[in-house]
Symmetry: C2
Subunit: 126 residues, 2 copies
């Protein structure tokens, strides 16, 4: 059986708010050892954008200060019932390392990264 | 035939020097759209450490200024004739997304990331 996103996605997602400052976002990434922060609207819980450690590198290179300035708004996402290789192709096409997994109401229910795909390839060996 | 590191590694590696400042390293990552910078000794060409966009996030969180302060010195590496799944297991064990590929003299001849492994899984589909 072909693996689906729900089989390998992480369900505990670290998220950010658009009014967070860059240092608060950086601390979340460091505390949890992750690279991706979906940005969530506090009122609705819906996906607004995404910030990665790469965007924080961009903040240093371009001297930007807030999450709103550096977050990507057109987010590439996945649904949990999609085939992993279809989503892996989508990530390769956009040169990105991870996608938030959303439900029909655009709420974030998980995240899948190329690290998760690579682990699946070797039977999750760690 | 089981894929080996040489079959999927990137051969054009973006590198940094230990005396680079953080903004110079950030600009290299952004200009090339990558996350990993092996740090190379200018005199010998040998691998000294590694800096990733995650380390730049750390520099923001912890207010550090130089590559020397934030680079990781004990670098997890691979040789080009190793099996991809052996190296993928090594990356999963260390929770890292990429390894420099080195020769017998510890010179960097390539880099392999979980993005490269994920692309290989789908036949490099882009
Ligand atoms: C081109 S990628 C290259 C670096 C790295 N591999 C990464 O995924 O961040 C960097 C840019 O992609 C964006 N990005 C990352 N994941 C994304 C996603 N799921 N949807 C849209 N943009 C995304 C980031 O916000 C960042 O601006
Ligand atoms: C624990 S990982 C988690 C974030 C991300 N997945 C990454 O690979 O950077 C972050 C730390 O791993 C280190 N790192 C990344 N690649 C490495 C490698 N090949 N060998 C040793 N350390 C590495 C980075 O320098 C950084 O301090």
């Amino acid at each position: 059986r072909e693996p689906r996103v729900r089989d390998i996605m992480e369900r505990e997602v670290v998220t950010a708010n658009p009014e967070d400052d860059i240092q608060a976002a950086a601390k979340k990434l460091i505390d949890r050892g992750v690279d991706h922060l979906p940005v969530i609207d506090r009122e609705t819980g819906k996906l607004l954008g995404i910030v990665t450690s790469w965007d924080l590198a961009k903040a240093i290179a371009q001297e930007k200060r807030t999450i709103r300035e550096i977050m990507t708004r057109r987010v590439v996402t996945a649904m949990e019932d999609e085939l992993v290789d279809v989503v892996a192709r989508r990530m390769a096409r956009h040169n990105i390392s991870g996608v938030p997994v959303i439900d029909e109401e655009r709420r974030v229910i998980g995240i899948m990264t190329t690290d998760d795909i690579s682990k699946k390839l070797v039977g999750g060996g760690a």
